[in-house]
Assembly symmetry: D2
Homo-oligomer: 338 residues x 4
């Protein structure tokens, strides 16, 4: 496979992880590292062997040897940086959330399409063993039709100073929810409630319902004020059901052969039969999620196809979060996504 | 203490538990058992020694030796039976939910008040060890101000044929929520979403937010389609936080000395400090909840005071459920309780 | 099937459970209840409908309508009562432990054999869902060769006044161990250590190793001084391994597709390969164990065959306990069972 | 505090951890790194800034600027290296187990004493938060007299090619057991049983009882063939009891206010009272154990006192393991430690 030359912009919190994995991946190389803090960039370059370091984005984008750019900077800079990179003809990978608004996100998606470039959002969680397993169970039909997705992501802190708890934590759940469902199933509206419990100007506790057509409901409970850390997701299908406890060291996914059948011929009397089969704890692949993500970026570019977690997917998450904020302001009213 | 003569109406599922506890309680006696199925009533009387058995409510209510009536019949009969009993001058205990509608409930509450009779709702859960402990922690001030109450009550089935999952399961959580809070804190509105996943005409999965004034939020997740049974309640206070796992055999309540402090003087920079203290697992009293409930009924009557779980409390639960149904129909819109 | 007429001797702690199940079982009837406390026996007879009540064992044994006797009296009376019953030509079921000594047990086994009568020991645990499942996994070959059996049975109390903790708790584990293994695998020696922690004259903490030929080891940890209740058994096979957590409400048995392979050709370098497959949580049958036990008693009698938990099996448990006491007295020395 | 110049011998598995912590510790410096593989040593020196690298132990020991030596080489080299270092007048830290035999260990202990040098064994676990907390509970008297210590340390693999499972895993438990007990309480004998389940020449499953005088018993279950990882230690005292689950992410230590009282005046009737108080989950310090260990090494040298985990403590562990091997060979017979 041809080697992809990637420049990483941002050497702060997440950038080093990207550099490490772009270096480790067989089909990618780190061609440059860009940060306003050149010393930081240089330190990273020394450790992983990038040939070039710069504080000047313009210089980077002018370099024709660089085919793709990975953006790991503060959220409000995603849009301008990605836009410039796309305009310069680079494929672009952006950290989540894609942008600050759906309008910005839509513009990036459209720009990438018009220039036939790949725009990808780094929804890292989608590349973990548990999520890939759940997606496989759904896509293979083993779970049957998905009836609900319920995710609890709560812990003590860390309070963010510029977004509420949904923008902080729910991108994980929302990207996972979209990732595991069949491609044609898309949300239509959102309801959300929440409380700014510490009077910081942003909700620290929130509940988010994602409405689909009548057959499916999604829900996320995000909370910075829980004394215990809970990472528990239920996915209920017509055939089987999954419990994913991400805090479990060794048994994160359990697939239950359980369910409910309603006797259609006797609906008036509501004859419900319960299936109480056993459960299976599958072995999960443990390749580092981020390595699979950067590899998918390279593959999507090489194959000229949409990546598994595309700009559109990133945009959907932003749309849902935007709608959630509106709904919270109205005390839970349904806000359409269209 | 004077002995209270109680008649129990309904010898079906719950009636025997009431008869057993009214017999066991030092301050009450079972004076009669009433059921359309006289054989059932007789069997119960034989086992616990009731002097009288009848299928005729009128006869029962005409008996001046009977001071109080406990109603354990199907929900739609609660209202007419309780009304007749109050009109006949009897104190009344009603199974939850109090009535089918808030209008009916209000009428009973008003009638009891006008006749100076006790109307009580059997919110049994409020008399269990864990709930009494949480109430004590709140009322003593140990938890500080309550910020949120989050309850998950999910399992596989049993589907009800006449109500949705909220009317089936949430009365527990809603009565507990009201019970543990200081008396002056009352909900103002409700938002709810849900899905009729099996197309039975009633939601089998639902999420309910109870809005208070800005300082508190309550939430219940009720679900008949979960492969695992979860009974997990978080109560977060400004000083301490409680995790109540009712499926735990021996450690149902954990009180965490954890919390968050926001530095008011530096609110712009959002200086948040986290307290990570230890936790305590208290010993819980294990007197049977139902015995404490019937004893409270007798005490409230003897002392001429409102019972701990009064008709008003039962009415509040019905109001919330009624509002929840309206909200679900509107996709989550906020419905005022006033 | 012909109905078996059983007399139950002992109306104390366990007797009522036997009476209830002999009454419920399709192939047995309670013909008489015998207890020195006639009132107790009568109460039991009233509840379950036994035709006869007596305080006189002699009278009972002289009754030719009674074909079998179930003995649920204090342990030191097992031997004399069982002996008289066998001499009177009755089939005999005895609570565990079978007798106070292996000499007594051997005499009962021999007597039953010489008179062609069934002698059964009520090792109730062997009839529970988890144990039947483990036995099935072993006997079907799914687990491969059993390498070890490790059982922890600890809790706070109840201190016994006449036996040590092994005689109190380990009969469960020892009867289970024998029950799940293939019939031809029998223990050869015992080592045990323990501590009389509260200076009561009997060990309240003890560890028991059951030696087999070189391929298998069994171990029991019994403890009356643990702050937590643990009921955890590991059964390791060459193909699969079982974890049985009897305190789990819904997932008591997990079958792990895990193991170790040693490369024989490279034994010097010890090339060990580990198999890390998934796990399965099977559905367990939940018929009451005691009902299956009394049914097995009737079947064994009807079919003239040895019961699943025979007098010999009860004798083996007594032999191991006897040897364990000797070993403890010697600080752990190996005591042969031959 | 004066700075201690330490040379680390062995740059393999554990050496880098020692170098990292000797570098991080305020009171120590890494003066040299020694390994036969000079490249390995150099790499480590580059990363943490050691001024000197050598493959020649003699050269190292001749360097008068080096005051202390830390030995992290294969076990069979501990004795000769430590001996040479002590003879050269260096203080010595040795990885566990101290030596291959108690004779070697005794010689080192005696040599250090005769030269007034510090000999320390790196029992890292003793410096972890849970173990320090348990020691504190015992030494403060909060637990009362320790009655038993029971530790389960089981998982799948890793099979060692030169020692049995006790020598591999039990040094942790044995060093912890000795560390938490009051100094004057010392073991007197050992019993052990085990099975070489995979026929590799070494036991892969073993049970070890440590006998004290009549008031205390210690026990370790070590197993390379468990499908699940268990790290569970019970410590029972006359006043309180501790459960330490080292696999728990957030609640590793629980202190139970539970216990047993025997009424001495009624000993014949064995009147036992059980205390069922609550439990406390303390906050544990989370300084890296190894950093505390190297700091203790420096402190003990500076203060001319015995370190918390001294050569004598390392020797005791070796003596117990040696005795355990003898006991296993005899099927569990008690082997004196004297």
């Amino acid at each position: 496979m041809q080697n992809l030359n990637v420049a990483v912009i941002g050497a702060g919190y997440w950038g080093p992880n990207l550099v490490r994995n772009f270096s480790a991946c067989q089909s990618t190389s780190v061609a440059a590292i860009c940060d306003l803090d050149l010393a930081k960039a240089q330190k990273l370059a020394d450790r992983f062997g990038s040939p070039k370091v710069t504080a000047d984005v313009q210089e980077l984008l002018a370099d024709s040897a660089i085919e793709a750019v990975a953006i790991a900077t503060p959220v409000h800079t995603h849009y301008p940086l990605a836009k410039r990179a796309l305009q310069a003809g680079k494929h672009v990978l952006v950290e989540k959330p894609l942008t600050m608004s759906s309008q910005q996100g839509q513009e990036l998606v459209d720009l990438a399409a018009s220039k036939n470039l790949r725009l990808m959002c780094d929804h890292t969680f989608c590349y973990t063993g548990p999520v890939r397993k759940i997606r496989e169970l759904v896509h293979s039909g083993e779970l049957g039709e998905v009836l609900y997705f319920d995710s609890v992501r709560v812990n003590l802190g860390l309070f963010q100073s510029d977004v509420n708890v949904l923008w902080d934590l729910a991108p994980h759940d929302l990207s996972i929810l979209d990732f595991i469902l069949p491609d044609h199933i898309k949300p239509v509206a959102v309801s959300a409630t929440g409380l700014d419990a510490m009077n910081t100007g942003f909700e620290s506790i929130a509940y988010l319902t994602v409405h689909y057509d009548d057959s499916l409901i999604g829900h996320v409970h995000a909370n910075w004020l829980s004394p215990v850390k809970v990472r528990m997701t239920l996915v209920g299908g017509t055939q089987k059901m999954v419990v994913w406890d991400d805090t479990s060291a060794s048994e994160r996914i359990k697939v239950y052969d359980k369910g409910v059948d309603v006797d259609e011929s006797k609906r008036e009397d509501l004859l419900v039969r319960y299936r109480h089969g056993g459960a299976h704890i599958p072995v999960l692949e443990n390749t580092e999620a981020l390595l699979l993500m950067v590899s998918e970026f390279a593959d999507a570019i090489a194959q000229g196809r949409k990546p598994l977690t595309s700009g559109e997917d990133g945009l959907l998450v932003v749309k849902i979060l935007e709608a959630a904020n509106k709904s919270i302001a109205q005390g839970g009213a349904k806000v359409d996504l269209a």
